[in-house]
């Protein structure tokens, strides 16, 4: 997969901004990026669920990205379909850029069949933070 980043202007709404560690502190909600890769780890847990993605860079190397999400409790209550994520599957992630390298806070996951999923299972509005844990 090719890594490509799309920087977008996002509205600075802070819905659900806090989490076990503050998502506003750890991620730049004004900078939205898109990351394409292959799932190498899927962890559903509290305070934050996570994916690891293997992402191919422009020079052909595969780099790991960390995709952070809300608490699994919150995602369960929202009805998030966790069984649709399997290690080895391609995945596109749109989210807030991490203040650490190669980290992103999930706002939207796009599956290979074109399904778009948000952590709270509601249609995404620009710039809204994902739910925390």
């Amino acid at each position: 997969m090719t890594l490509w980043l799309v920087l977008a202007i996002a509205v600075g709404s802070a819905y659900g901004a806090g989490a076990h560690h503050s998502t506003v502190v750890n991620f730049d909600s004004s900078r939205e990026i898109t990351v394409e890769g292959t799932l190498t780890e899927v962890r559903w847990m509290n305070p934050h669920s996570r994916f690891r993605l293997g992402v191919k860079s422009a020079d052909g190397r595969v780099e790991e990205w960390l995709v952070e999400m809300g608490a699994v409790n919150t995602m369960k209550r929202a009805g998030f379909p966790m069984d649709r994520f399997t290690v080895g599957d391609p995945l596109t992630v749109i989210g807030a850029a991490g203040r650490r390298d190669r980290a992103v806070l999930l706002r939207e996951a796009i599956l290979t069949d074109g399904t778009h999923l948000t952590p709270d299972m509601r249609p995404r509005t620009s710039g809204r933070e994902t739910s925390g844990g």
Binding site: A19, H20, H21, M45, P47, E64, K76, R77, D101
Partner: protein, 246 residues
């Protein structure tokens, strides 16, 4: 105070914290995520109107205007979100911090001689014996494994539940957003006042800490009644510290 000093102080506080008086309690209910369970009937003669499940998001959170001491400002400025947040170790840093967490539940049980607050966040289970409001030496309880949450006593003032807490290990009033790093010293005295306003639980927490603040710090957080049940949280420090790719 630099970051290393803060960590040393925190570790010292954890080591000094006494054993919890809370033991042998029932486990937190684990009927995961199914709405609709009703709480038990409250005992007669108690202010029973809080005995529900509550979830964050009952209205806007408010803060008063507070002022740091020079030491408090120094500690606030020294906070490093990449390492200092006690939540990386699955540990609570202050009662306000706990109430600020979004999307988690609290279940309140009001007994004849105790009140029990079960917090979904970090599975914190807090059973406090009720004291006389005018008593000079109320019985206090700690939360095992959470020294920055102090020792709490509780009583009612009318229909308001008052929880008075002292003897804290160093912590942070908030680790969230622009208030991340607000310090808490062992001199902290915290008073939570919980009252029900219709389907909203209003939680006003006043922090008095002369080491770090010239004025009281007051946060007001609102929870709403919910049919969702508490879930097991199961925070694992080995996992909670994972915030970067390998």
């Amino acid at each position: 105070m630099n970051r290393r000093a803060a960590i040393v102080l925190l570790a010292a506080g954890m080591a000094l914290a006494g054993p919890s008086e809370i033991s042998g309690q029932e486990p937190i209910e684990k009927n995961l995520g199914r709405p609709g369970r009703k709480g038990p009937e409250p005992p007669r003669g108690q202010p029973d109107f809080m005995e529900f499940n509550w979830i964050a998001g009952g209205g806007p959170t408010a803060w008063n205007e507070y002022e740091y001491t020079p030491e408090g400002m120094k500690r606030f400025a020294a906070y490093d979100f990449k390492v200092d947040d006690p939540a990386y170790r699955c540990v609570g840093s202050s009662w306000t911090r706990i109430y600020l967490n979004p999307n988690v539940l609290i279940h309140v049980t009001q007994g004849t001689d105790f009140v029990r607050l079960q917090y979904e966040w970090m599975d914190i289970d807090r059973r406090i014996p009720l004291s006389a409001p005018t008593g000079s030496n109320p019985r206090r309880v700690r939360i095992k494994g959470h020294p920055a949450l102090g020792a709490s006593a509780a009583w009612y003032e009318g229909d308001t539940l008052v929880i008075d807490t002292i003897d804290f290990a160093p912590g942070y009033v908030s680790t969230i957003a622009e208030r991340a790093g607000m310090p808490q010293s062992p001199r902290m005295h915290t008073v939570e006042r919980l009252r029900r306003d219709g389907d909203v639980l209003v939680i006003e927490t006043t922090h008095l800490d002369a080491a770090n603040y010239r004025t009281p710090v007051v946060s007001t957080v609102r929870y709403r009644k919910t049919d969702w049940d508490l879930m097991d949280y199961g925070c694992d420090p080995n996992e909670a510290t994972v915030v970067s790719p390998r």
